[in-house]
């Protein structure tokens, strides 16, 4: 009894945070279930009407192509980033060499440059490489600008892995690559999942590179496809919210999957270790 009474403040904090974090999402869903005129009559009310018309419209707009493009380019970029970043993080965090700090700074400096400053150079670059207006044009910047934060997170985690494990492996005759692949990588699952979810969400919502580097509908990603909801002087708010609600679902799935991995991967790693 005393035990459960003591938990009341915990539940209270939990609930306050729940409302704080959850309300806008609820508001988004509720808005997506209004038609334009009900939205204009009572924009602030929650769940006054439930109309699925906006969702039907979204499906009729033929966003499938954009959706597939988004999946393709986000998944490919994120996978490449996880691999490349993990590889680069290994010597940066676990080997002593002269340019270690310098190289590390070079790698993370990429997250310090505002994206808008890179647009014109990267636009010219993709043209010169003949990639302009293709999904490949997006892949390069997506990987490059996801690397800094990924390398940053991964090196921090790798530093915390005890050296003893590695030394034991060295005595067993494991090469650096073997150590990396068999020992470090499995222990890195929580960090890799963090990197995965962070980058996936960013790339899934990425707008500015896609805007500038692609100009054919067949190569467009989902954020560009949402432009149909914007007129010169008006936004179809409920329609946009319906599309955005749908667009957030894959990420919710990805998030839940990755969080499962964080817990499982860790217990799995502990058993192996």
């Amino acid at each position: 009894m005393v035990q459960s009474l003591r938990k009341i403040p915990l539940y209270l904090i939990g609930l306050v945070l729940l409302v704080f974090t959850g309300y806008p999402f609820i508001y988004m869903i509720s808005t997506s279930l209004k038609d334009q005129s009900t939205f204009f009559e009572r924009p602030f009310a929650i769940f006054t009407t439930i109309e699925w018309g906006n969702y039907a419209d979204v499906f009729q707009m033929g966003l499938t192509r954009y959706f597939l493009n988004s999946i393709l380019v986000s998944v490919a970029a994120v996978v490449a980033v996880m691999l490349i970043a993990a590889l680069a993080s290994y010597p940066l965090s676990r080997m002593n060499f002269r340019f270690n700090r310098g190289l590390f700074l070079l790698f993370i400096s990429g997250m310090m440059l505002p994206i808008h400053a890179t647009l014109i150079p990267i636009f010219k670059l993709s043209q010169n490489m003949g990639l302009y207006d293709s999904l490949l044009a997006l892949l390069g910047p997506y990987i490059a600008f996801s690397l800094p934060i990924s390398i940053f997170i991964l090196t921090q985690f790798m530093q915390e892995i005890p050296k003893s494990l590695e030394e034991a492996a060295k005595i067993d005759g494991c090469s650096h690559f073997g150590i990396f692949w068999r020992i470090i990588l499995p222990m890195l699952t929580p960090a890799l999942m963090t990197v995965f979810i962070y980058n996936f969400i960013h790339l899934w919502n990425e707008f500015i590179f896609a805007l500038v580097l692609v100009s054919s509908p067949e190569n467009m990603t989902l954020p560009l496809g949402l432009q149909d909801f914007y007129g010169e002087f008006s936004v179809n708010v409920p329609g946009l919210m319906a599309a955005l609600t749908l667009a957030s679902l894959p990420m919710l799935v990805v998030y839940l999957f990755s969080q499962e991995k964080v817990v499982k991967g860790l217990t799995g790693g502990a058993v192996k270790g």
Binding site: I120, S215, F229
Partner: protein, 424 residues
Amino acid sequence: MKKISALLSVMVLMLLAACGGNQGASGNADNGDEKVIEVWHLETGEREKLFQEVAKQFEEDHEGVKIKLLQTPNDAYKQKLAVSMSGGNPPDVFQSWGGGWLKHFVDQGNVKDITENVDQDHYLEMALNNGTFDDKVYGVPLGLSLDVIFYNKVIFEKYNLEEPKTYEEFTEIIKTLKENDVTPLALTNKTKWPGAYYLMNFASRIGGPDLFESAFNREGRGFDDPAYVEAGEYIQELVKMDAFNEGFNGIPYDEGRGRQLMYSGQAAMMDMTISFLNNVREEAPQFEDKLGFFVFPTIEGGEGNDTQVGGATGPVWSVAKESKNPDLAAEFIKALTSKEAAQKFTDRTGTLAAVKDVVPEDEFVKQFYDVAQNASHIQMPYDQTLPPELAELHKDTTQALFGLSMTPEEAANKMEAKAEELLE
């Protein structure tokens, strides 16, 4: 782990294959004998549909020509076009509003001179001027918009109000509405240009329609003219009277909150371009019966009168100098602004056409048409006419006037200082 990595590599390979296939077909390069005209615009709804119809017709009339339309919304559009111009790969045809923004690209040598390609008599002179620099035509207008004050007829009837002719009558109405807890004027000034219309209207009514021309062309008067200072004072007087809804400087226009105040009857009037009619028809059709409008009231002792109205051109179509098929592109913008297209434009979008002798069928739109016909002067918005940097300052200072965080003198002096720097 092995399984995952195998899966990943397969995925990457698939992606590369998929992209490799696409690459040849994309870009605005010509495919074999087919000539591609890439057209960038920012319209949705009926306007976009109309462009698609014109494009389809054009493709039928010109064998081996493909029109590739691409819509991008306002802010993103400006950025996309700016980057592609700087990067040396602009579309063949692009949309603008004419004025300072278009002139920026003209000055850079990125826009084709189409004086020879088009018949200048085809367009309304005032509208065509907005795409003409140094007597050379760089852009042709399709639409013309006006700035008026819309009001709710039911509310006006309820409190026995009549369309005001003078500023005194206007402030009387505001007082009556305030007494009855109705917000007199809806304003969404996060977007900045809705508030800027007040400054332009007041300045024109006080200093006459030539004031801006003179300041812009550096012909005697300046942006620190007493008329501009006075216009700022009028704005702040309205703000201090609580004539506008709360928190207007933080409310964006496009997302609809300001229009919502009108539709719901919480606010009685709104100064807006006639594009509002189209919004009403899409968002709250039943409100059209209550909708009336009047032109900006006159000011006693001022040099302006009520035949001088604010307006704007758009879309204005231009051809990029880099275009591989410049003459074909010019043909296409003529098709986009043909009399037939213009008639459809005005009938289906509730806006006026910038092409001569196009009378709207719609009765409400016809009223706008009459205002335009009787107008002695149409003032294009400063933010479209001025060079981009000065335009931005004009909007920023006006927003600050509304926020009471800048005095009219300060705002006028800032504008004049920048104008001296940027205008010759």
